[in-house]
């Protein structure tokens, strides 16, 4: 190899090295730039990611709380339904007992008392009693009952039996003859009128 050839070879070799370095440098810069952009992309997403994470945590707590509250409500309902059922059982038995009572001898006396009590409360001279089909056949001494009422109200009282019939286990509706004022002393009426007190008393007896 001549010295000229060596010089040429050196020139070309140097050029190739420079070219290689240019490419390598730009590739290195490219790697750095891409890494930088990845970082920027993550940075840009950080706030949104943080908000998604926070929302997910909150949602998770809400779901847990909601499910727990729903379960607690179900449990409470379970207990309330059971209590309601037990109270209903008592009321049903009370009605059964009353159905038994109406077939006993003492019922007529009890019915008379209810009529007198209603008459005294109404405090008018002309009264009418409405009974169920069965009780309408009972030998009620209405004149004597009217007397008893009159003694209490200090006025001459008259009681008549209405031709109307009521659908009730027992007891009577006592009303003025024009029907404007009435006292519902049927068993159902008494149970309905005092329903909340009765249920309260049953609950007290059953659950405390």
């Amino acid at each position: 190899m001549t010295s000229a050839d060596a010089l040429i070879e050196a020139l070309l070799s140097e050029a190739r090295e420079k070219a290689e370095k240019i490419i390598q440098d730009v590739k290195k810069t490219a790697q750095g730039t891409l890494e930088e952009q990845r970082k920027k992309g993550r940075e840009r997403a950080r706030e949104i990611v943080s908000s998604i994470d926070k929302k997910a945590q909150n949602d998770s707590l809400i779901i847990q709380l909601r499910n727990k509250t729903s379960a607690e409500s179900k449990a409470k309902w379970l207990i309330l339904e059971k209590k309601h059922e037990l109270i209903e059982n008592v009321i049903n038995q009370v009605k059964d007992e009353l159905r038994t009572l109406i077939n006993t001898d003492k019922y007529i006396h009890f019915l008379e008392n209810l009529i007198v009590e209603g008459g005294i409360i109404l405090g008018v001279t002309d009264l009418e009693v409405i009974l169920n089909e069965k009780d309408s056949t009972l030998p009620l001494e209405l004149d004597k009952l009217a007397e008893k009422i009159g003694e209490k109200t200090k006025s001459k009282t008259k009681i008549t039996k209405s031709a109307k019939k009521i659908d009730a286990i027992g007891g009577a509706i006592i009303q003025t003859t024009d029907g404007k004022i009435a006292m519902n002393n049927t068993f159902e009426g008494m149970l309905n009128n005092s329903e909340s007190e009765i249920r309260f008393k049953i609950a007290q007896t059953l659950f405390t």
Binding site: G41, I52, L61, K82
Partner: protein, 111 residues
């Protein structure tokens, strides 16, 4: 001698071209990089959000599962309480019936 000089000059030109070509290639790489870097930025941005959403979904699912045991316990406690109430109530059932009958028979107590 002239021949040699001419050859050297030619090779100098060739060397310059090698460097020039490399610069052009570098420019192309830079231009490609500009577009790629924007895409990479967006890609990472979207991937981070997608991962966060996936985490959120998993957390939502696991939060429902995690509380199942507690819910079963709450319901079971409720059932147990209902049973205890029923046992106690059955023992007092007759007394409650009699109390109500007494209220009906003794009207003054109701009023």
């Amino acid at each position: 001698m002239l021949e040699v000089l001419k050859k050297i000059k030619e090779k100098q030109q060739e060397a310059k071209k090698i460097i020039y070509d490399a610069s052009i290639e570098a420019q192309k790489i830079k231009q490609g990089l500009l577009q790629k870097s924007l895409a990479v930025n967006e890609e990472v941005f979207l991937a981070e959000i997608a991962q966060a959403e996936k985490r959120a979904d998993e957390l939502q699912k696991s939060s429902s599962l995690g509380i199942d045991r507690e819910i079963i316990q709450i319901l079971s406690r409720g059932e147990q309480q209902a049973k205890e109430i029923e046992i106690k109530a059955k023992a007092n059932h007759e007394k409650a019936v009699n109390n109500v009958l007494e209220m009906i028979f003794n009207r003054s107590e109701i009023k």
